[in-house]
Symmetry: C4
Subunit: 252 residues, 4 copies
Amino acid sequence: MKETVIRFKKSVKLNKPILVVGLPGIGNVGKLVAETLRKQYKPKKIATLYSPHFPHQVVMLKTGGIRLVGNRFYLLRPKGAKNDIILLTGETQAVTPEGQYEVNKKIVDFFADKLKGQFIYTLGGYSVTKELTTSPKVYANVTDKKLISKYKEHGIIFGKSRGMIWGSAGMILAFAKMRKMKGICLMGETGLLDIDASAAKAVLIALSKSTSLEINTAALDKIIEKTAKLLKEQEAIMQGQHNLEQKPAYIR
Amino acid sequence: MKETVIRFKKSVKLNKPILVVGLPGIGNVGKLVAETLRKQYKPKKIATLYSPHFPHQVVMLKTGGIRLVGNRFYLLRPKGAKNDIILLTGETQAVTPEGQYEVNKKIVDFFADKLKGQFIYTLGGYSVTKELTTSPKVYANVTDKKLISKYKEHGIIFGKSRGMIWGSAGMILAFAKMRKMKGICLMGETGLLDIDASAAKAVLIALSKSTSLEINTAALDKIIEKTAKLLKEQEAIMQGQHNLEQKPAYIR
Amino acid sequence: MKETVIRFKKSVKLNKPILVVGLPGIGNVGKLVAETLRKQYKPKKIATLYSPHFPHQVVMLKTGGIRLVGNRFYLLRPKGAKNDIILLTGETQAVTPEGQYEVNKKIVDFFADKLKGQFIYTLGGYSVTKELTTSPKVYANVTDKKLISKYKEHGIIFGKSRGMIWGSAGMILAFAKMRKMKGICLMGETGLLDIDASAAKAVLIALSKSTSLEINTAALDKIIEKTAKLLKEQEAIMQGQHNLEQKPAYIR
Amino acid sequence: MKETVIRFKKSVKLNKPILVVGLPGIGNVGKLVAETLRKQYKPKKIATLYSPHFPHQVVMLKTGGIRLVGNRFYLLRPKGAKNDIILLTGETQAVTPEGQYEVNKKIVDFFADKLKGQFIYTLGGYSVTKELTTSPKVYANVTDKKLISKYKEHGIIFGKSRGMIWGSAGMILAFAKMRKMKGICLMGETGLLDIDASAAKAVLIALSKSTSLEINTAALDKIIEKTAKLLKEQEAIMQGQHNLEQKPAYIR
């Protein structure tokens, strides 16, 4: 396998589709949102992307089967929605710059040329601090400044995020912009955690405000609760260790 | 050399061949099984695979000669067997993701198109613990769920292995599955050791139960014995060091 | 995106253009000079270079927009100048050797074939010491020894720099030389600092002496001042810490 | 620049040429031998090899000029020799496996097809110990076992070297062997040193015994002497430090 391939399984008729990209990344924000939507809507897979720029891994499935790592396109049809939603998620992103340029260009071209897509949301985390963020803000960048006013109304913050967006969340928008397609990158404020369900929840709510997606945050709320409990326990242990370090000098 | 090449030396007539893949990997399980079979059956090499994605090394042979690192296909003909066995082994696997996708795809296509192959076994280790495993279990994943019941009878465990299979053991099955070819990955439970002959023995026995291969574990038993002895000695030293650390305070 | 591309936006008529290359590198010398010239001349962008060998990043713009990382060619027309100046700068250089060979060859070919260019200046830092350099010298290497005498008159030092020039500052000259195009690499002596405005100022002055560029060093002078202040503060802190380390033995 | 290129400058008539390869590597043995021969014979450069798989560097020359890193082929004509000697040396080897496979294949094909070459010597170090080696042995591996007896007469050791030969010293022989061309890799026993002139001298002597090359080891002897002096000084310092570590307990 020399090149990234997209296997388009079902040639369903799509209704002005919007792409929502939730892949692994900072705080796993995008992936958490994607998995939440996948569990809620139980959507059909319509295409699979494989790439020699992904890690050389297969997933061991619970059933005893295997699956080559990849990215998958799912079709969501929220009730009464004007646009179909295409959800893109998977186990991984490309592991080299060259791979990222190839894979993300293919994703944009597939969405534009084969799915006749209209608009792209990419989801991710924005790492502001090394502290725990309890009520994370949502930052965003867009392909076209005219989009800003609409999203500002939903409490999304523009022009305050600095630096670089790494990986698919940024690259997909860059390639979309080159084709005159519009899109937005929603980034949940994150810091300490590798799996940041709070940031994911904030992004999911922001996404629901501007799309037809109905949001059910129950699964994310459970993770948030569990994480809070774990952190408390850990803090207690750290506190204990701190005490030990202040132990009297006669203890070795 | 720009691409992976397979030099097919002998155009022997093959009888519904089955591929057994034993390459270096976790615990060197696959490689140990392959070497055991190679010593026992003294099979003929029928093809050699070279790749620019292998390390840039040549092996210094005992004879004073050299050999470019590669993978080799050997033909085993167990007595009275319905299927020829093609054993694939070698010094290395591809060192990059791109290389792994290229090399493993070539292996599957060569086996299917040139050797008219029927079924693939890939062998490897499954790292469960950092402890020593004395009576290792054999876990497996398959390309097709229908295969499970047959192998379960031989004590092989399905659906309990989690995470990812890295490298050829997984990728070869993934590319086989894409071509509708069937196969199984047998993984010996391993932990502490870089050269785990116990895990290899468990995999070899599992392999023999479902193929016509007659198994002689004498060579592996020797390694197991030697390893046990070495570990005991090391333990004794560690125990000694531990005692030294508890030396009285007046010793510097 | 499989290859480096240069999007040539304006097909303006150019007057015997000279290329000035100021990209990120040692002490950020080249980039600092380029940004100084860009602020001073407010030049038009005439071409953009994108490459799959650049990092897979997009820049978050203050406006809320995005920009794929790249290199940009700007047109400067100093008053009364015989030659147009093409300024090349950007966020990054290629991240692999293969990428550097591809990108820098493309830059030279584009400048020679499309812009009918005449001469190339590449700007960079030359790391001599780990100390702070307050009055940095300017070292240089050229594609053609006949160039040396002219530049020596401007106080530029030849034949004293040793070792290797990494990246675009060197590679662009190498590819120019292969095409019989002439050029010079001006390197400001640098040491301690990641952002060395003193070295950049020295290079800027050297550049102005042999081109029609009028130099305004006000912006660089501000950075130099700020840096000096910061370093003094840091020194004071270090001094304090040093004192602490000499604290009496009864303090734990 | 997308591919390795060899610029063949002079189409001189060659007399059954033998290739001697001395590139940077373990103990810099090959490179030291090559530089010794280059100084002694002052040979003409007949070809230059550039590669995108080399580091992205240019050499700053003493003259104030530049040179892209590369490998160079020199023509040596020892008096009364039956064979011309082509000496291959340079600043670097390819930095990736893929690059090594490409560059070394090109070298062999160029030598065979363009120079109508007959035999290849590759020179290198063989790392046996972490100690200093004062009277280093010369180990060798060959493309064809029939060569062994001839070289054994010269005190070269066969069949005792184990493991892998990395890089050009091994790969060039491997690609030669694939083309039925013969060759030998001479490896000087080395250990502690990055620049091992003793090992280089041993290899140079071994090389002279089986070729028409007259050997002048004066330059290498100087380095050996200097190194010995440096090591003695260092040892004295280490001895001093050791004494300090045995300082009485009341010194902190």
